[in-house]
Amino acid sequence: MTEHAAVEAVGLGKRYGSKWALRDCSLEIPSGSVTALVGPNGAGKTTLLQLAVGLSRPSAGSVSVLGHSPLTDARSLLPRVGFVAQEHPLYRGFTVSDTLKLGRKLNPSWDEGVALARIEHLGLPLGQKVGQLSGGQQAQIALTLALAKRPEVLLLDEPVASLDPLARREFLQSVMEAVAETGMTVILSSHIVADLERVCDHLVILSQARTQLVGPIDEIVASHRLLTGPRTDPASVERVHDVIRESHTERQTTLLVRANGHVYDSNWQLHEVDLEEIVLAYLGYGGPNGTGRASSREAVA
């Protein structure tokens, strides 16, 4: 597609008053990827996406989308970026058809065919007021507005957080269909990991205003291992590998490590870990007896 990364942040930070909502964020999200932006509420996910789409202004560092600054190149960049904000704001007094007209009037690259096909597929009556539709239908309308723009980069902020499981599945299905058709880059934020694993190929973990982990999901899963062994001090493991989480019972020690190469120590039993567990470990949830370490770690990128 382009030689530029879809989104590139360098030392990006945003401060509200004295509190940093996002700090020292450096990452590169490759074109064509579908990236999950994961973190608890208040971790800085919304801030990062709003900075990327130019809704807010960085306090430190910079962010570029498709090689352009969202602030200074807004005019040329905006038509290439689709955005669905948290809670998918829409004009509630508009009918579905008014909403499409709004999209058509405000977007030169608007594809009416895409919009109408989606509305028809969803079975939404054009004359219906948007405010009277269900949350799932409203989310789909917001997505339609973003998709009919024919964006190269699609940013979705907590698109499924407020939806029931069925609507959630349908929404993500719509996103996947659009990706399959157009090959666009998608970044979607969520605090629900399970949904994203099926959809995404890249992962960014944000916690406490900092990036904790950035990379392709298959590499992340491949490099993380759960080690169990007799109770011991993990110092020997730590010399070679990154220990993300350690937990101890009376007789047993369990470590979640990001392995740098193979783990050769026969004292340990190796287990595969799934993505959700890795994410939880980075977010500082240490399991029953665990001590999360992620919260004190610097960005691992």
């Binding site: 905006l78 904000a85 809670e87 709004l102 405000l106």
Partner: protein, 322 residues
């Protein structure tokens, strides 16, 4: 963009049109009635220099008949404030509901969105203000021919000041609203602020922005004589009363020349006043010829303040809101 802006303030525009239609429904029948009474009483013939007694009577009768209505309709001076804050609402509502996050992530820049939306809001408010002013001017016409249009209750609805008032209320509600991001409180603050500033202008500032004329003249108490004083016809008389030669007001109650005739009326002896250095009249007034000067200055102040507040709202929204 034009369609979007228009569609987003359609409700407010319809409400404004409804308000104007209601006012028209009130003004048109009473106005027609007043105009026909004016012609029927032959009042236009009474506008000359020396009206007859019959004329005086007819004018008084007319005034007595329509004064109540005139005073009632003086409340319509609140309408420019209502129209102003009404059109500020759709802009603030977008910030409150967060729909700016939708609008600003379409393909148009935030700057263009703000400019376009504010321009259409201001234009709609201006149209409503002009319609309102024309309606009131038509209704007032007979009263203006008799008494001029310098009196507060008429002056406030005439000329160009209602446009300044409307813009001021609009700007105030916008400025408060973009910072507060709550539509209803901003609209209330805008309207109350508008009302307060208007009262301040009507009762204190207006008579000070263009220095009024002061005149002192020898009063001729002889009946029939129209006096040697200035022509106060149709003028806005701020104060008027007996004075000494230098224009210092005389207190009638303390004067030995006043003879009480019962509890409510007094007789003043002109000769006596003359002997005591009085017998003069003093008036502070704005002559009718200053109507447009006063209107211009006042409109300039209101519209200037409005412009500053609208620009502030635009700047704040562009810089601060996300």
């Amino acid at each position: 963009m034009f369609w979007a802006s228009w569609r987003l303030q359609r409700t407010e525009t319809l409400i404004a049109a409804g308000i104007l239609a209601l006012i028209a429904a009130l003004l048109v029948p009473t106005g027609l009635n007043m105009a026909s009474a004016y012609h029927h009483d032959g009042l236009s013939a009474c506008l000359g220099q020396n009206p007859s007694d019959a004329c005086d009577q007819a004018v008084h009768g007319f005034a007595a008949r329509f004064d109540g209505l005139k005073n009632l309709l003086a409340w319509l001076t609140l309408v420019p404030g209502v129209i102003g804050v009404l059109f500020a609402a759709p802009f603030i509502l977008e910030l409150e509901n967060g729909t700016t996050r939708l609008a600003w992530t379409q393909s148009i820049t935030r700057r263009r969105w703000i400019t376009n939306k504010l321009a259409i809001i201001v234009a709609a408010a201006l149209v409503a203000a002009v319609v309102m002013t024309l309606l009131m001017a038509w209704w007032h016409a007979p009263l203006v021919r008799l008494d001029g249009r310098m009196e507060n209750s008429i002056y406030d609805a005439e000329g160009v000041v209602p446009i300044g008032y409307t813009l001021f209320a609009l700007g105030l509600a916008l400025a408060v609203g973009v910072v507060w991001r709550r539509t209803v409180p901003a609209v209330i603050v805008g309207f109350v602020g508008y009302f307060a500033v208007r009262i301040f202008f009507d009762t204190w500032l207006r008579q000070r922005i263009v220095s009024p004329v002061t005149a002192t003249w020898l009063d001729q108490p002889s009946p029939g004589a129209r006096g040697a004083g200035p022509n106060l016809d149709h003028a806005w008389v701020i104060s008027q009363g007996p004075s000494d030669k230098l224009g210092h007001a005389l207190s009638l109650t303390a004067s030995p020349c006043v003879r009480s005739l019962g509890s409510h009326s007094q007789a003043v002896s002109g000769d006596c006043l003359a002997q005591h250095g009085g017998g003069y009249m003093h008036a502070v007034y704005e002559p009718a010829s200053r109507f447009w000067t006063l209107q211009g200055v006042e409109t300039g102040i209101f519209a200037g303040a409005a412009l500053a507040m609208i620009l502030f709202a635009a700047w704040w929204t562009h810089q601060r809101a996300a």
